[in-house]
Symmetry: C3
Subunit: 272 residues, 3 copies
């Protein structure tokens, strides 16, 4: 994992995010903090051209509209043609018919290197794409020690169906391809009190994949561990009188001074 982070800092991949305006600033800043470079363009007037000049494309479904959806499709297809990294973050995929339909179309028309979401988002995608086994397991809100082995099975199955690395993040994080699943126990529950931590992680993951070609699964797992370790470091660094807004800053701070050694020592995972 150490080398995965070091490659991001060395190669400084340019990452194009077509994303929501709620967390766009944090997404850009966390990309800079981990060593990558951000660029954002969300209109068809330029989305493809911007994508062509980047190493990775991060598609985030927050605050969607038909214009942005069209830009996502065009940019995603072009990324596939150019062999660039493409990631899908299906924010609120189950919250509206529009997001459900859009994520189904994107999954059908674009080959994603990775998909990252919480369990209910990933479940909404899986249901839409005809995955059967294990979807029941995912009907709860959380991944727990009790349902873990069925969840691992479900995530691997969805990965086989899509050909993408699947990352499900929550109290326990699962990052899997069709054969192997990293079960990751980094992070803090308080991270869910900051808006956009999921969006940030998706952007970081895109950068990790772009800087580590040929090692998609390891790079995705390294990104999840790194952001989780940053959440733990940030929590320890909180001072008296600081709350959730300070925590938001301190997470990005911790990403900015994370090195390979800290990541290696802090990562807590098993492989199933």
């Amino acid at each position: 994992m150490r080398e995965c982070l070091e490659n991001v800092r060395k190669k400084q991949p340019l990452i194009h995010s077509i994303t929501n305006y709620v967390t766009a600033n944090d997404v850009a800043n966390v990309l800079l903090a981990c060593g990558a470079s951000p660029i954002m363009a969300d209109d068809v007037c330029e989305a493809e051209e911007i994508t062509a000049g980047c190493a990775g494309l991060n598609l985030n479904l927050g605050t969607p509209n038909p214009r942005k959806a069209e830009a996502m499709k065009k940019a995603g297809k072009l990324s596939n043609q150019l062999g660039h990294i493409v990631l899908l973050d299906p924010v609120g995929a189950g919250a509206s018919s529009f997001r459900k339909a859009l994520s189904a179309e994107l999954l059908k028309e674009i080959k994603f290197d990775a998909v990252r979401g919480n369990i209910s988002e990933i479940r909404a995608l899986a249901l839409g794409s005809g995955v059967e086994r294990g979807v029941d397991a995912a009907s709860g809100e959380h991944i727990t020690e009790e349902n873990l082995s069925r969840m691992v099975d479900f995530v691997k199955q969805f990965s086989r169906k899509t050909g993408s690395v699947i990352a499900v993040t929550g109290e326990i994080d699962l990052v899997a391809d069709g054969d192997v699943c990293y079960v990751i126990r980094n992070g803090r529950p308080e991270m869910s009190l900051v808006t956009g931590t999921g969006c940030q992680l998706s952007a970081i993951m895109t950068a990790f994949l772009a800087a580590n070609p040929g090692r998609r699964l390891l790079a995705a797992a390294a990104a999840v561990c790194m952001y989780g370790v940053a959440g733990e470091t940030a929590w320890r660094n909180l001072k008296n009188g600081e709350g959730t807004a300070a925590y938001r800053s301190r997470i990005i701070d911790a990403v900015s001074f994370m090195d390979g050694k800290s990541l290696e020592e802090g990562a807590r995972y098993e492989i199933r």
Copy 2:
């Protein structure tokens, strides 16, 4: 007021904000900080469906355009049908004809549980809606001890006209229905040096109303007191070398660890 805050933390109402992109991140984070959950969708392709799944709807007129205006109208009407809480924040209502016309249309077509703005915004709305008595009083930029009783009268009158709880915030805050007005003296003048403190308060107020059905006036007043107390706590927590950006964070921090007792002890208001 204590119970109003505790209800937000207990019920964690999901609040849909159709809002401007300048302060959307702070709005989402402050909702999390007070115990509510944020969601944002601003396009007609999904605004109604998202609203249907929420407890409250917060309509904010910043950075408007015709597409967002349509989403606001549809989401607002549906909220009325479903009996959900709806709040209007007429940001810059007097600054353009478009905002003036849009806020008038919204007031006509939607029944708002509450309206929150500064005095010039509320005055622009009142003029548009035919309120006569007291509008002159509101022609100054501030609510002062000198014009207080006429202002209280004006705000009550506008509440009777609209059927909404009216909250006018500034150095002195007024929160009134047709009969009763809370005159609130919490907060710090430095809060106006942070962009979006008004937007944040409107979101919090929507959450307070959603979590406290049947007590609209008390819930709205509690939200104003709570945010004002947070501004005072944040000011005391500032360290050497910290300025307006640190203050912005520390206000949200103070909201995140506010409890019912601190609110009860810190609230400074009289009822007229």
Copy 3:
């Protein structure tokens, strides 16, 4: 320079930014921090009317689309008619054909008081507008002591071509009209690890020009020095455990308590 800052704090000019959603919050907050007032509107439904009520207009090309482009053109032309300050920040001018064409059109149809960008953005503009001499010098990524005199020449030449004050910011900053160039050595390289520092400076510069009529060059140079000094102060104020997100806040903090004396003492420039 001292007086330039003091005029902003005294006159509190209202600045309209048509800008990207990635850094809009920081732009609004830094305008408040330096003593100005922000307002944002990006749709033709109101952009002209909002502009008419402001002292300055800041056009920023980040996350562009055809609707925002139209608003920029109309607002820019009206500002020219009204004799208001107009500034162009050609974010990513070389990154897409749309931005290249839009910035060329804006330069043709609107008379800008100032243009601020990094060297590759300014070079993209200059190539588009037929400047020949010195463009080669600007083909490197940086302004260095070695290419400095040719760069100064290039920037003056582009200023003569456009009639605008030209500000090129990077490790060394150049602020020039056709005859005189400020060579400024304030700031910290770490400022480039925070997204939107360029956007913030453009907004500040618009405020400085609006508050100091008749002294465009001095006001623009004072804005660059002030923001650079803020970056230095913020760096010194960083505590253990703080990284790039804290730095982002501390820069705006430093702007918020900057006074004329600190600016005068901290500014490091020569005139060529």
